[in-house]
């Protein structure tokens, strides 16, 4: 178990290193540098600035300095936001994105399992047909359309009751989080519902279900203890990649609902070629995603004893 975790973590570190290197090379291939965005500075000031940020060294030297600092967990100072450390930017804005993402995943997982189980119970009857129709809608409508419609709905709801039922945009309280995270989770919820349904229908024909039924267990017990628990496994497997999808999709929802998440800084940094912020956010996101996938795999081992972790 421990050996497996360590092995996965080592592979994860290599992946993050690869992402960092590829991003570093790609970033420096782009013509221009972050100092170009400033008003025309004299050659002397430019030289000083380059010395301050270490841009006067060769690319190879810069790369190794960056790797050394990264190993210490220091991403340096932002080029475009005066004297703001990249670590501070991440610390201030990542929790917002993470809260949004975790809530969205929570909605998606709970909703997906619940709806999926329901469709399996009511197979080919009206509830199944209605839910599966919604699922197809959920898969086919882009998240930004959901976000816009969700906001439109809030506006109408608020004006209908004459009071602010839920805030339309912004961040701060749990009420701000509800709509954006629900909207963000809808696509994933639809996917998970579909997966859960087929998984439930597959499990229902297994021998152990027949055995349980033959032994005279109550249908409720069979449903929860035997069918649901076994059917939930594939859902857990896709949860890892879905976390990645939700963190990238989160940016659009952050944009529509004016949420101060990390995504905005990331896109801004790329547009302004802010080297340190690009590297910091990319490496951070990469590490976060790798960690999530590893955690889901380990969790899978706990849920399914058949999976032998090597």
């Amino acid at each position: 178990m421990l050996a497996y975790t360590l092995k996965r973590l080592a592979a994860g570190v290599i992946t993050v290193w690869f992402i960092a290197t590829a991003t570093f090379i790609a970033m420096h291939q782009v013509p221009g540098d972050p100092l170009m965005n400033d008003k025309a500075v004299s050659a002397e000031i430019r030289k000083n600035l380059e010395a301050k940020y270490g841009l006067d060294k060769t690319k190879v030297e810069q790369y190794f300095i960056f790797l050394g600092n990264m190993a210490k967990g220091d991403f340096g100072i932002s080029f475009t936001q005066q004297n703001r450390r990249v670590n501070d930017i991440i610390r201030d804005h990542f929790p917002v994105s993470a809260t949004l993402g975790i809530l969205a995943i929570f909605f998606a997982a709970v909703g997906g399992v619940m709806w999926g189980a329901l469709t399996a119970i009511y197979r080919n009857r009206l509830p199944d047909i209605i839910i599966m129709f919604m699922v197809i809608l959920g898969i086919s409508v882009p998240s930004f359309v959901f976000a816009a419609l969700g906001q439109l709905m809030l506006v109408n709801l608020n004006s209908l009751f004459g009071v602010s039922v839920l805030p339309v945009a912004g961040w701060g309280t749990i009420w701000h989080m509800l709509m954006p995270s629900l909207v963000l989770g809808l696509g994933t919820m639809a996917l998970l519902t579909r997966l859960m349904r087929s998984s439930m229908l597959e499990v229902v024909n297994e021998d152990y279900i027949k055995t349980a039924r033959a032994k005279g267990l109550s249908p409720t017990r069979i449903f929860f203890r035997h069918q649901l628990r076994n059917a939930i496994l594939p859902v857990v497997t896709v949860l890892g990649p879905q976390i990645a999808a939700i963190t990238t999709g989160g940016f659009v929802v952050e944009l529509v609902f004016a949420i101060p998440g990390l995504g905005r800084y990331f896109v801004q940094a790329v547009q302004q070629l802010d080297y340190t912020v690009i590297m910091g956010t990319t490496v951070f996101y990469g590490a976060f995603l790798v960690l999530m996938v590893i955690m889901v795999d380990i969790l899978y081992g706990f849920i399914d004893p058949r999976v032998r972790l090597q």
Binding site: T23, P31, L137, S140, V145, V267, G286
Partner: protein, 469 residues
């Protein structure tokens, strides 16, 4: 013990019956069989028709409709879908002197605490979108009037709407409104003032200006050939916008057709290219296996882990596409370079399975060369899975294009794509929801059709399904 009705004829020697051995049904190839099963699937078939209709919409639509998608029509800005509209032809705008009652004092002698409502508001001449001219009776005690305009009926004194302006004397009892008028109901309120503060009394007039077009504007847009004064007052039909217009008065239908070209081009070409790359890469890795396979697949895993958005933007900058320029080509390259590993992995898995099959072994024993094996046996047998991947890759690519254009990283205006149209529509979604809804519906229908078609193909191409029927 039992008495079966047997006759002597039953004990005669039987002749060989050829017809029982005959294959009575026509022999079907794998693809014919799949096509028959796909045709039985109503949902998949409808989706196929929708896909064909979308292709026609994109390719033939602009020729049939023939409206320039970038033609701005500032007389019909943000129009909801409607039947063809008509406008009254008028001459150029003529100045209006207004109405001043000479024998009424400009300043009242004393300022009462309260005054009554303004009486007898009426329009002077016909209200048109060129100008709405209001006239009312002078009010005792007022030294000026404020004029407000609201789009809905004012509920109370605090709900009079947009302050348009004010007159400067108690006997100046007219106002001319020329502020971006549309052909819709307006509620004008006149509030008397004592020169500084308003009296809390108001009177309302409902006005619906007629849509007008000056002769020179009509000639500019080719609606009439020549204009002379005898034609003024005549009704002419404006350009028809069945799907309404956007915030610059551009025809939504024409833009949707134009946008479909971008969205479907990227949505179909990008997956097509990266699926081919994936087949070659995955086929190579799967067929040769061993260390090479390990190395190739590890590289594919790394590519998957790259941050998509960052590389997309970097490609865009690297191609020298600044903000405000449309970057269809870099977007295509980025999609291809970053999304191929999924197909490669899938094809590799398929090839690994097929490689061990008996018929491959047999062909190899008969002396087939590797390239013959790959082209003749392995690729045709992976085609089903590849086709399914392709149909699911199309909606994914359309989604990605829409997402990128929506956040302003993809196709930039004025080039329309469904995603960038949504981006523009979101800004005005409260007042003009159709500008968001149409492109969003088109994206959704396209993605839906490809998804259902993919589902249908999966079932049709899965030979295990055959035995279940």
């Amino acid at each position: 013990m039992n008495n079966l009705p047997l006759t002597a004829a039953d004990f005669e020697k039987a002749t060989a019956n050829i017809s029982a051995e005959q294959i009575s049904r026509p022999s079907l190839s794998y693809w014919q069989d799949a096509w028959i099963r796909l045709k039985k699937n109503t949902r998949a078939l409808i989706s196929l028709y929708i896909v064909i209709a979308l292709a026609l919409f994109t390719l033939v639509g602009p020729i049939l409709w023939g409206v320039d998608p970038s033609l701005q029509d500032l007389n019909q800005v943000s129009q909801a879908p409607s039947l063809p509209k008509t406008a009254v032809l008028v001459g150029p705008y003529q100045r209006w002197e207004g109405v001043v009652i000479e024998d009424f004092p400009a300043e009242p002698d004393d300022y009462p605490d309260t005054v009554g409502d303004v009486q007898n508001i009426r329009t002077f001449g016909n209200p048109t979108t060129q100008a709405v001219r209001l006239v009312w009776d002078p009010l005792e005690g007022a030294s000026a009037y404020n004029i407000y305009r609201n789009n809905s009926y004012p509920q109370d004194y605090n709900d009079l709407g947009l302050p348009l302006g004010s007159t400067f004397a108690g006997n100046e009892v007219s106002y001319e409104d020329r502020l971006s008028l549309e052909s819709r109901d307006y509620y004008y309120s006149i509030v008397p003032t004592d020169g500084v503060d308003e009296y809390e009394s108001y009177a309302i007039l409902q006005v619906k200006p007629a849509l007008t077009l000056t002769a020179s504007e009509a000639m500019d847009r080719g609606l009439i050939d020549s204009a002379d004064e005898s034609m003024f007052g005549q009704e002419i039909t404006l350009q028809f916008h069945p799907f309404g217009t956007d915030y610059l008065g551009r025809d939504m239908l024409a833009r949707l057709m134009e946008g479909a070209r971008v969205s479907l081009f990227i949505g179909i070409v990008a997956p097509f290219i990266y699926v081919i790359i994936g087949i070659i890469y995955g086929g190579f890795a799967g067929y040769f296996g061993g260390k090479l396979d390990q190395l190739l697949m590890r590289f594919a895993d790394f590519v998957v882990a790259l941050p998509f958005l960052l590389f997309m933007i970097l490609f865009k900058i690297a191609f020298g596409i600044g903000p405000g320029e449309s970057g269809i080509f870099p977007m295509l390259i980025a999609l291809v370079l970053l999304l191929w590993p999924a197909t490669a992995r899938l094809v590799r898995g398929q090839v690994l399975q097929i490689r061990e099959k008996g018929y491959i072994e047999a062909a190899r024993l008969l002396g087939a060369k590797p390239h013959y094996l790959i082209i003749r046996h392995i690729i045709p047998n992976t085609m089903g899975v590849i086709l399914v991947t392709l149909t699911f890759a199309v909606p994914a690519a359309i989604f990605t294009e829409a997402f990128l254009s929506f956040i302003g990283m993809g196709v930039a205006p004025p080039t329309p794509s469904w995603g960038s149209m949504c981006n523009e529509g979101v800004k005005t979604m409260l007042s003009h929801p159709h500008e968001l809804i149409f492109p969003a519906v088109f994206i959704s229908i396209t993605v839906l059709a490809f998804n259902l078609l993919g589902d249908g193909l999966t079932e049709a191409l899965d030979s295990r399904m055959r035995s279940r029927e």
